[in-house]
Each structure stands twice: as structure tokens, then as C-alpha cells.
């Protein structure tokens, strides 16, 4: 019952009561604001809502598609970068330095700039064989930016596995690659699932940035709707769609964190 912040039925009642009081206060404050009737007309228009629901969810499917494709690519690219960064020995210094520079650069530059630079710059080069599709470059930009973040998450996970685990694997005659694949990575990935999902929640939202290059996804579609109806309700619809997509992922993250904490407690703390 930790979620309710109290024990048993009484905790639930208190939580319910205070939530109702809070909601009533907010509703009263907003609905009594001098500008409320106008805001309601502009943002919560029933007729525009119905129209929006006809077109925006369909456009939103493009966001979902961008998200799913980018996610799969990020999981792979980020892992490669993290592994390159963990290569041992002086021979691999140039590769390690490259991986560090990559993570530094793409975490430093605003996502919106990467999307503009790649989306307008890469097709302008007119190299034959290089796609000129805006959607393609939008996804590439998201993959590059988010792989930088996710590679750091992977790296933290790899570093968190005690070196004695690799030593045990190597002592049995497994190669470094086998030790990494069967012993270190499975433990590392398990530990970083919550922060990984957190980054993906960010990615889901940032799929809207691809609209800047032209593809009509949910945000662009709602702009079109707003422009034709002179009403902001479509933005509310789009916002709710994004929230609907992220809430399950956020709750899953919470659940995984709580589960790990329970396991840690059950095992008598860190070993």
C-alpha cells in the first residue's frame, strides 16, 4: 500500500479525500478565472474535438512508427558504442576516444538542431544513393541523439557488474566476448531497464520534432486542424494522445524499480 502513503483502508480513504479536495480547488480556481469562458471555447470545443479525433489519431500512428523504428535502432547502436567504450588496452584508444566524442557531441547539441542540420543538410548534398526523404533523416537524427544517451546508460550498467564476475567467467576458459555476452551484459541490461525506459519516454515525445522537416505526424496534423478551425482543441487532443502512450511505460518503469528494490531487500542488501 506504499503508493497511497498510508496503511490499509484508512490510508486509501485519506488519499481519496485529499485528492477530491485538491481537484475541486483546482476546478473552482480555473473555472472562476476571468478568462475561463474564452479559454474553454478555444481549447475545449466539443465540435472541434470530434473533428480532431477523426484525423489526429491516424497521424499519431506515424509518431508510434517513428518511435518503434528508432527505438530498435537505438538499442543496437547504443550497445555498440558502449562496448567500444569498454574495450581494454592502449591499442583501442582511438576507438574509445571516438565513442567518447560521439557521446559528448550528441548529448551536447540540442535535438532540434540535429534534426534541422541532418534533415535539411544531408539531402542538400545530393549524393546519389543517399535518401532525400525527410522522415528518414528525422529518424536518423533521433537515433543519433538518443543513442548517445542510451550508450551512457548501458555503460553505467556494464560498470556496475563487479569485475569478479568477469574474472570468474574468464577463469573458466570463456573468451572476453563470451564473458561479456553471457555473464556481464545480461546482468548489466537487467539493472538499467528502468533508466532505459525513462529515455524512451523522452524519445516518444521527441518524435513530434520530426514534424519540423515536413512529415505530417500528430503535432503537424493538429497545427493544420488549428489553422482551419481557429481553435486550439486539437493541441489538447494531441497532448492527451502522447500522455496515453507514455503513461503505461512510466508505470512499467515504476513497477520495475519497485521490484528491484524488493529483491535487493529480500537478498539482504547489496552484495
Amino acid at each position: 500500500m506504499r503508493g497511497w502513503g498510508g496503511s490499509g483502508g484508512r490510508g486509501v480513504l485519506v488519499a481519496l479525500g485529499s485528492t477530491v479536495v485538491f481537484a475541486v480547488v483546482v476546478v473552482l480556481a480555473v473555472s472562476n478565472a476571468p478568462g475561463w469562458p474564452e479559454v474553454r471555447r478555444q481549447f475545449f470545443n466539443g465540435e472541434v474535438l470530434r473533428e480532431s479525433l477523426g484525423v489526429i489519431p491516424e497521424a499519431f500512428l506515424l509518431n508510434v512508427r517513428i518511435f518503434l523504428i528508432a527505438e530498435a535502432l537505438i538499442l543496437v547502436l547504443a550497445l555498440v558504442i558502449a562496448l567500444v567504450r569498454s574495450l581494454p588496452g592502449p591499442v583501442f584508444f582511438p576507438l574509445r576516444a571516438l565513442a567518447v566524442a560521439y557521446a559528448d557531441f550528441f548529448r551536447g547539441v540540442p535535438t532540434i538542431l540535429v534534426i534541422y542540420l541532418l534533415g535539411f543538410g544531408a539531402p542538400a548534398l545530393e549524393i546519389s544513393g543517399v535518401p532525400r526523404d525527410a522522415l528518414f533523416w528525422g529518424v536518423v537524427a533521433l537515433v543519433l541523439v538518443y543513442s548517445a544517451y542510451v550508450s551512457e546508460v548501458y555503460r553505467a550498467g556494464i560498470d556496475s557488474v563487479h569485475p569478479s564476475q568477469e574474472a570468474a567467467a574468464r577463469s573458466l576458459g570463456l573468451t572476453r566476448g563470451q564473458a561479456l555476452r553471457f555473464v556481464v551484459l545480461p546482468q548489466a541490461v537487467r539493472r538499467v531497464v528502468p533508466p532505459l525506459l525513462n529515455d524512451f519516454i523522452g524519445l516518444q515525445k521527441d518524435t513530434a520534432l520530426v514534424a519540423l522537416l515536413g512529415p505530417i505526424e500528430a503535432f503537424r496534423q493538429s497545427q493544420i486542424e488549428v489553422a482551419s478551425s481557429f481553435n486550439y482543441t486539437p493541441y489538447i487532443v494531441t497532448a492527451l494522445l502522447f500522455v496515453l502512450l507514455t503513461v503505461p511505460l512510466a508505470r512499467l518503469t515504476d513497477w520495475l524499480v519497485a521490484r528491484d528494490r524488493r529483491r535487493l531487500l529480500a537478498a539482504g542488501g547489496l552484495r
Binding site: R170, S171, L172, T175, Q178, V183, Q187, R190
Partner: protein, 250 residues
């Protein structure tokens, strides 16, 4: 059987930074011989074992296993490690794998055994050491003694010609020490060649064919256990054993 010793160390040196941990170790083990390394913490026992298993590169000297030098630069580290089993103080089982997977991982991946073969080998060993009913458990559900016995089984599943035991009972609650020592004793009786670093003096006295006293990175004194424990010649050995006796550990 060739006359080459199961394990031979000649002039082995190892430093960590400025700290010279091994300062010229010479040691040879015959086949089926059980040698115990005793000495204070920091005397170099663990480092010596880790060097034999090539987990630490040595700075000078030679190490040979069954007559083949394993410290020459072109040697295949993984092939060498398959011939030498090591068991650590902290068990180091793989926490994300069941007991059976822990034991079969290296035989399938490093030796190329089929899964059925590896499992057969694993179950036989688990049975022999009273762990058959734990095959599907995960390490965090086992007691320390059980975990350490699984770690020993995991090393044995590679059919090593030599076992290195690094203070295998030091992390255990006192009541769990015996079950692990019994396993080691059984291994000794079955003829396994073993190099054992230990703080369990009475166990060393009981099981070892030979005891080596390590002090500041050198084997200061070695010989028959009775001799070392009852009539040590070196003053440093006498001091060390006196402290052990004063602590009621012998």
C-alpha cells in the same frame, strides 16, 4: 604419465605499482599432490593463485602446467584456463543463471560440449556433492556453503587437471565451513592435484601433502604439515603460528 610436474613455478615476480607482492616464487606440484599455502593476509597467497590462472600477468619468471609453459607470450589464455580450475573466496556464481546453467555454461561454450553432454556431466557432479535438488535454484536462494559447493562443481565440470582454491571458506559462517571442507577433502582423496590458499590451519594440517609458508612474497619455509606445524624452523613461521595458536585457531 610424463615426469613433468603438474605445476611448476620458477622465479615468479609480480608487482602492483610499487608494491612487490611476489618476490621470486619457486614451487612445484607433482600429480595428485595437495599443497596448502599459509601465511598472513597480504603475504601473496591469492595473488599467487591468480597468477597461475593467468588472471594476473606476471612480471618475471615462468609457470608451467603439465610441462607446457603457460607464461610465454603467444600462449592461448583461454585454452590454459580450461585446464585449471579456480574457486574464489566470494563464490562468484553468476546470479542471473540457475545452478545448472552456472555449471554448464563453460563446458558448452568453451569446450563445445552439447547441452545434453554438459548437463549429464553437471548432474553427475551435483549428485556427487549433494546438490542435485538445487539444480534449478538461483544462487541467491542458496546458503553460502551451498553456493561455494556449486562454485567447486562449476570448476570441476571443466575436468581440470589442477584446482586452485583461494580461501574458499573465508566468506562462510562458521557452521557452513565443514560442508565445503568435506568437498575439498573428497577431491583430495580422489586424486585431484590442488594448490590451496587457506586460513584453516587444522584443515591444512589434515589434508595437505605439503605446506608452504608465504611471507612478504616469498616461500619462507615448506615441508611436511606435521613438521611445519609442530617444529617450524624459521622465526617468522614460529611467530605466525604462535599468533594462530593464541587466537585459538589451531
Amino acid at each position: 604419465m610424463s615426469a613433468a610436474p603438474a605445476l611448476a613455478l620458477e622465479g615468479v615476480h609480480k608487482s602492483f605499482g610499487r608494491n612487490e607482492v611476489l618476490r621470486g616464487i619457486d614451487l612445484a606440484l607433482a600429480s595428485h599432490e595437495v599443497v596448502c599455502l599459509i601465511g598472513a593476509s597480504g603475504s601473496g597467497k591469492s595473488t599467487l593463485l591468480r597468477c597461475v590462472n593467468l588472471l594476473e600477468p606476471i612480471d618475471a619468471g615462468r609457470i608451467a602446467v603439465g610441462g607446457t609453459e603457460i607464461t610465454e607470450p603467444r600462449v592461448d589464455l583461454n585454452a590454459v584456463r580450461r585446464r585449471i580450475g579456480i574457486v574464489f573466496q566470494a563464490f562468484n556464481l553468476f546470479p542471473h543463471m540457475s545452478v545448472l546453467r552456472n555449471v554448464t555454461l563453460a563446458p558448452t561454450r568453451a569446450l563445445g560440449l552439447s547441452r545434453a553432454e554438459a548437463e549429464g556431466r553437471a548432474l553427475e557432479l551435483l549428485e556427487r556433492f549433494g546438490l542435485a535438488d538445487k539444480r534449478d535454484e538461483y544462487p541467491d536462494r542458496l546458503s553460502g556453503g551451498q553456493q561455494q559447493r556449486v562454485a567447486i562443481v562449476r570448476a570441476l565440470a571443466m575436468r581440470p587437471e589442477l584446482m586452485l582454491l583461494d580461501e574458499v571458506t573465508s566468506a562462510l559462517d562458521p557452521e557452513l565451513v565443514a560442508e565445503v571442507l568435506n568437498v575439498v577433502r573428497e577431491l583430495a582423496e580422489s586424486g585431484m592435484t590442488m594448490l590451496i590458499a587457506t586460513h584453516e590451519m587444522s584443515f591444512a594440517r589434515d589434508i595437505a601433502d605439503r605446506v608452504c609458508f608465504l611471507d612478504a612474497g616469498l616461500i619462507l619455509e615448506q615441508g611436511d604439515p606435521e613438521e611445519i606445524f609442530t617444529a617450524p624452523r624459521e622465526p617468522r613461521t614460529q611467530q605466525f603460528l604462535q599468533r594462530i595458536i593464541d587466537a585459538g585457531r589451531l
